[in-house]
Amino acid sequence: MSEILVLVEHVEGQVKKVTLELLTLARKLGTPAAVWTGAGYSPEAQARLAEYGAEKIYVADSAEVSDYVVAPKAELLAHLVGERSPVAVLVAATAEAKEIAGRLAIKIDSGVLTDVVGIEEGLVADQSIFGGGINVRSRVTKGIPIVAVRPNATPVEAAAGAGTEERVTFTVSDAAKGARIVERVKEEKGARPELTEAAIVVSGGRGVGSAEKFSIIEELADSLGAAVGASRAATDAGWYPHQFQVGQTGKTVSPQLYIAAGISGAIQHRAGMQTAKTIVAINKDPEAPIFELADYGVVGDLHQIVPQLTEEVTKRK
């Protein structure tokens, strides 16, 4: 079977869950071959990728691949596509990987599909558009399909592959070195899972009332091992950092469980979360539109209900 290139997402060498999802998906389509970029490659990472089916692992961990914005990674993938003639290229539908996919599409004159939630036989891709309002089936009609798949869309399944490491000898062109990353600034986020990858997300909105009160949202999230999100009202008010915003102009999440506290559920917010499997809403306004999509809703003051829920969850663990 022909290769499916899978661009690995990792945080300082730790392989992210979405990559295991992509490998699981790739196994149905061909022979998965992982592509590692950036520092942090280790025997543990190799073992992890092999465990989920990577037959080969192409490693390009030289600094020049990751020291510039996006372009070198697109160049690397174009190089591998030229050498390996894969059936398809899979990347995670993250902001950066979608940009890599976009540049790669131009380089190899191939179609790109973004925010895919499933891939069927014949590389037909399922997409959920307009905030989950319409389900679309699309396919690439020219070139080698490049598909950006949303995190949390594929159940992960282990199935061992050989995991043969192959170093990629590749020189980044000067043209791809236009935008240099001079510093990476990390903002505190604690030990919580990443928003788009988390199985459970607890979000707070206008009803939370202040930055200080977001601690009750964080405590509930921590009791459930969840990520914390926020509505735009909350991020605009400066109560919670912008990168945690869920919604049309923020992140799209599809967790197993989404708890919305003090969020009315405006269409802009729903666009970012209504594909969650189970939705729980807590809001003092019984007319809030969030209750229209909630599997379970509690009408009342979140400042009473959320801490009580945290206590109950902790007690029952």
């Binding site: 996006v70 979608k98 009609t141 990353i181 986020k189 009408v299």
Partner: protein
């Protein structure tokens, strides 16, 4: 500094958005067209850069005749002039085709800096700025929450999952912005009146030297095979808090095996 800000007209999120049953493309007549929200932040940033460094702001849009409303909005905010890429041959272009058409136009009109919103609310691909940088062969400075220009040098803060990256490059360059970057101004009455007199140049595929075989629905690199309206979520149980709302919610979570 010659700044070109690319804007897009999108269907209003608050109205029902549809696809056309004849060719599976966006039904632009079904919903009110509005300026894409992140494009307003791009216009604002372009205006601020002009105010700080001098130069001119040109609005560039690709879209049907009715996209002229979106151009007027950007001009009313304070942009100097506009280019409207309008041609039936462009209908149904995917991101690759759109980036080709815009890149050709940008080459023709010239630029020191191209500014875009980081994604649109309709297609939400988030790839266009990167594609333009690729096609134009200039640095990609995308997902910026801060932009600084100093002579021929430009630096941004690129938003990441863990915080941000500081990125440096030289002009010319392509920048895309996130909403945290600024607070877009409202057009003043004077601005709205002045916008009516500002020049809007209309260009077609041939005028902009766009390769007709690279644009339009029939030449797209991908296609929508079919689509269906998603079944609405069924409303669930809603209870009123009687002092035990947290306990009840915990019972529900336990019933679904989350606890």
């Amino acid at each position: 500094m010659n700044i070109v800000v690319c804007v897009k007209q999108v269907p209003d999120t608050a109205t029902e958005r549809k696809l056309r049953s004849d060719d599976n493309t966006l039904d632009r007549d079904a919903a009110d067209g509005v300026i894409n929200e992140l494009c307003e932040y791009a216009v604002e940033e372009a205006l601020r850069l002009k105010e700080a460094h001098g130069g001119e702001v040109t609005v560039l849009t690709m879209g049907p005749a009715k996209a002229s409303d979106t151009i007027r909005k950007a001009l009313a905010m304070g942009a100097d002039k506009a280019v409207h890429l309008v041609d039936d041959a462009l209908h149904g272009s995917d991101a690759l085709g759109t980036s080709h058409a815009l890149a050709q136009t940008l080459k023709k009109i010239g630029f020191d800096l191209v500014v875009l919103g980081s994604e649109s609310t309709d297609a939400r691909t988030g790839v266009l700025a990167a594609m333009l940088a690729e096609r134009l062969g200039v640095p990609q400075l995308t997902f910026a929450n801060q932009v600084q220009v100093d002579g021929g040098a430009i630096s941004i803060q690129r938003v990441t999952d863990y915080g941000y990256d500081k990125v440096e490059a030289s002009l010319p360059a392509v920048v895309s912005v996130v909403e945290k970057i600024n607070e877009p101004r409202y057009p003043s009455f004077k601005g709205i009146m002045a916008a009516k007199k500002k020049p809007v140049e209309k260009l077609g595929v041939a005028d902009a030297e766009i390769d007709a075989s690279q644009v339009g629905l029939a030449n797209s690199w991908s296609e929508v095979a079919d689509f269906a309206v998603a079944p609405p979520r069924a409303a669930g149980t809603v209870v009123k808090d009687e002092g035990d709302g947290g306990v009840k919610a915990a019972d529900f979570l336990a019933s679904k095996k989350f606890v």
